[in-house]
């Protein structure tokens, strides 16, 4: 459904449509920002700023996917502009369950924690490409559109990033 069609629902206003977009996209944007930045506080700031920019921009998009791409792009740019390495501080303890769990789950949580630490050590653009493609599950073409680059560049960035992650996780294990 086109985003602009949201406005013309019976009894709908632009504010109502904006509220619906926030509800639909909020978790996604927070997750992407968290994976790129490594902490929830910064991720919340970025998500908030992205929605405020959307409100200023308006909901005039050709399609739902164009709106999604625009939001992702804003989030990624805001994350990159933060200009510092992600701070995977205490938030990574969220990966551990609060109550005691089976050994395999603990091991899995530990692996995710290590992967997250390794992810935050990547350069911002490689990190963004990996997060959008591998965690958010977007197609290479969509990632290229969001990052305003070519599909070849995206594949190269992901390939390079995966190699670095493997290397870092191997060092962590040893």
């Amino acid at each position: 459904m086109q985003a602009t069609a949201l406005i013309f629902e019976i009894g709908g206003t632009e504010e109502d449509a904006f509220g619906r977009v926030v509800n639909q996209r909020e978790a996604q944007l927070l997750r992407v920002a968290y994976r790129v930045l490594g902490n929830w506080a910064d991720a919340e700031d970025v998500a908030q700023e992205a929605f405020l920019r959307l409100h200023r921009h308006g909901l005039d998009f050709a399609s739902e996917s164009a709106l999604a791409a625009w939001l992702y792009r804003v989030v990624v740019n805001l994350c990159v502009d933060r200009g510092r390495k992600a701070r995977p501080t205490d938030e990574l303890k969220d990966l551990r369950a609060e109550k005691p769990s089976a050994e395999t789950e603990l091991l899995r949580d530990e692996q995710k924690r290590q992967l997250m630490m390794a992810l935050t050590a990547l350069p911002p653009k490689e990190r963004a490409a990996i997060v959008l493609r591998e965690i958010e599950g977007l197609a290479t073409a969509e990632v290229a559109a969001i990052l305003r680059t070519s599909e070849v560049t995206v594949r190269t960035q992901i390939s390079r990033a995966m190699g670095k992650l493997r290397e870092m996780l191997r060092e962590e294990k040893s």
Partner: protein
Amino acid sequence: MTEDDIRDLFREMRDESVPVDSLVRVRVRVEDRIRRRAPWKIASLVTAFAALVVVAFVIQIHPAVRKTASPSAAAKHAPPPPEVETAPLENLPLSVRPAIERKTHKPPTAPLTQPVSTIRIETPDPDVVILLVSQ
């Protein structure tokens, strides 16, 4: 760890839920900022409109911008010169003050022994004034 293992972990991370308090905080802050912005937006529009009205008003009343009447029109609307029976102009002493001297009034150098009456006639040319002096 192989690339496939890493991709499996990524897929699991995709399914992890976002903390509810983060969701709530973002939503509340966004709504608050939008609500706070609205009055400022209206205020700035009203201020801009008021400024335009003031500028238009000032332009209207400023004398430098007012259209001055053309000389021919001024002549038509100028009060008729006072009717004075005088001799032809060539027989009367006239002092035509040039524009520069018009601004500085020079008192008469010689004391006047007899009372003198002067008639000042303004011409359509603002720089030229006819002064009739009768002794």
